[in-house]
Symmetry: D2
Subunit: 222 residues, 4 copies
């Protein structure tokens, strides 16, 4: 599985290698798929979208279907603030339009192509990480998940935060490189580099599906 | 206060402005200083150091003295694994040498120039964030801190993770730009950009000291 | 302020005194009111109610009005599971009917007498504590709350869990003795005893209103 | 497996049955043993001890040996405050002598009969729960533990808090009734009742060892 590194950082890569960062985690015994914030508002460049987010959504459709066929647990996230913004937080000071993402706003609905199926967890969150202030980590622990594949957007924001927290909660994070997107490609690449060095494996969706077929299918299908 | 943006990302900056990211938080009513992982092992390029980390330590000396004079609460972090590595975690799979940072190892001691004073909190942690798996957020809440100035290393690792979690825990993060360092400058700049857009203000230590003199001195000295 | 102790535990009280448990916390500088799970399903003895819960609701009406007049922050909690129970957890194995508490179920609506006003936080939770898997602690930290008055039900369940976590998060818990209720009085009394010894002050609503008038009114009204 | 209920609460038990509380969890696929605060200071009635704590320690010796033979993961907890009490918290206001439990104090050392073996996790904590402000839940998730057997003291304090949080983190809590103790028997019984109704199974150490022999031995020995 190929690690993806940001371009133009050759000297940086050198010191990370010297210090023995970036080792491979591999898949554990039971994987889940976490799809972060693929909602309508992040497909629209006038709102929170842009860059390669639509391509990432398109690539995730096949991975999601694959996971559903094999019984791999799936969780989705949405950013949701109260209609009266009583729960607006520090991030809303940095990015005020976030409070428009209310329960019924079209912008905060998961895109049709990836609409949750019955039995799939839908996490409502108000910070970047899918795990902070939510019960997603307990849900994964209860299912004995030990590996979390991450698709979604944005790579430099909620994906990275969720990957970091997945690791902190004791799960092996696997970023699906073609299934994560960002409104701007510089931060996208820079954050893939950081995650590959310190927190996660970066693989393609094809590689992930191959790994699931080999390693996890038996248990996931239990 | 000047926001610092990574070089070579002009088009990226444009979309962040269009979408109204990067607004200023300002200081709240009571600030604390959090110094992340300025330990011996991160001053040595053969271990975890390199880049501009030593300069950041040097700049932090003055800020720490200033905070102590004014009674601003100070917290330090160290990465500490058990002598038998019974608590080794996923991050140790990515970066195996981390388990050498044990309680008594010279590499895990805070650098002499920033040695903790009596009454200052010293957080032992095993993941990037100073807040994850620790009681630092409760300590800050108990002191009614609402603003967390962050110095330390590395910008792309434990500093960013701590800044993100400070925001998630309800504190305004203020990154002290000249007091954070990284083993490599590309990730350093890229992560300052991300934090400035989404999570934190980036100010110089001179700007922070001016803000503390104006706004916080009275309460901090209570 | 009078501590409440369970009946028939005279010898137990003795050793707690000998070991110097049960000291008073007092109010800090800024209090909030947390109302735990006063929803329709907990007023019905055929569902989750019974005991002295209705009396506790009645007593809370006056305290809530008092807090609103003075600008004391108010938060409410509801237990909410997904319509398809995709988020059912371990507690649902112990108490299966909990999964009936869905977003739109009449049983999970806050009782009319205590309906949330605009700007008041409404926390959706799936475990006993108002703080676990939620962003209530960050909200309180952001508001510089340092004291959490707790009303609600049940004393031996979600009230105690919320009181414990309030303390763990760095807030002083104050249980409003006449505003907490339980389906059965034995556990009600036993848990008031435990909380008074180890985690919280127990005061009456009259005592709380007096304390707020004296100490907190100025700041709360800012 | 017999649930233990506090004496003299017959009518309370009735309503819990009517409302269908207290269902059995059973063991999952992989259990761990958590031993809470069996340190010297909790064996001394002049410090934090008394009641049936010594009997609980004696009963835990056999269970611990059994778990070690079968490769069941073991974690211990200690309450540890900094030598300068810089991390003293709200609980220290209720119980001031807690700050005497420093890293090197004899009172905070695990009792000889249960001294940790190499590879066993030792959690340092400052609040009742073994999980709050620690990385114990991530460690258990990483090992794919789904069931947490709890021994230790006190039943009404750190045991209950740890049992509650185990459940919240997605693990099935199993209280080993003869391996938990308290300085006073009233709270001991009352808290066993609460836990049995809402959070955990209560079994004897003999029952736990039988369950481990039947169900978990194969996987635990992997």
């Amino acid at each position: 599985m190929a690690n993806v590194a940001g371009g133009g950082m050759a000297s940086d890569i050198d010191i990370y290698k010297t210090q023995n960062f970036g080792n491979r985690l591999g898949f554990g015994e039971k994987a889940a798929l976490l799809i972060v914030d693929f909602v309508n508002g992040f497909t629209d460049p006038a709102k929170f979208g842009g860059g390669n987010i639509q391509e990432a959504i398109d690539a995730t459709v096949g991975l999601l279907a694959f996971c559903r066929e094999r019984g791999v647990p799936v969780a989705h996230t949405r950013v949701i603030f109260a209609d009266d913004a009583a729960d607006a937080n520090i991030m809303c000071m940095k990015v005020p339009s976030l409070t428009g993402l209310t329960e019924d706003a079209p912008d905060s609905q998961i895109v049709d192509a990836l609409a949750p199926a019955p039995g799939e967890i839908v996490v409502r969150k108000r910070v970047p990480s899918a795990f902070f202030g939510t019960d997603l980590a307990p849900a994964f622990a209860r299912m004995r998940v030990d590996t979390v594949m991450v698709a979604g957007c944005t790579t430099s924001g909620c994906v990275r935060a969720s990957v970091l927290d997945a690791m902190c909660h004791g799960f092996r994070p696997v970023v699906i490189g073609d299934c994560v997107g960002d409104r701007a490609l510089g931060p996208h690449e820079a954050n893939l580099f950081d995650m590959a060095q310190k927190y996660a494996d970066i693989v393609t969706s094809a590689e992930a599906m191959a790994a699931l077929s080999d390693d996890v299918a038996a248990e996931a299908a239990e």
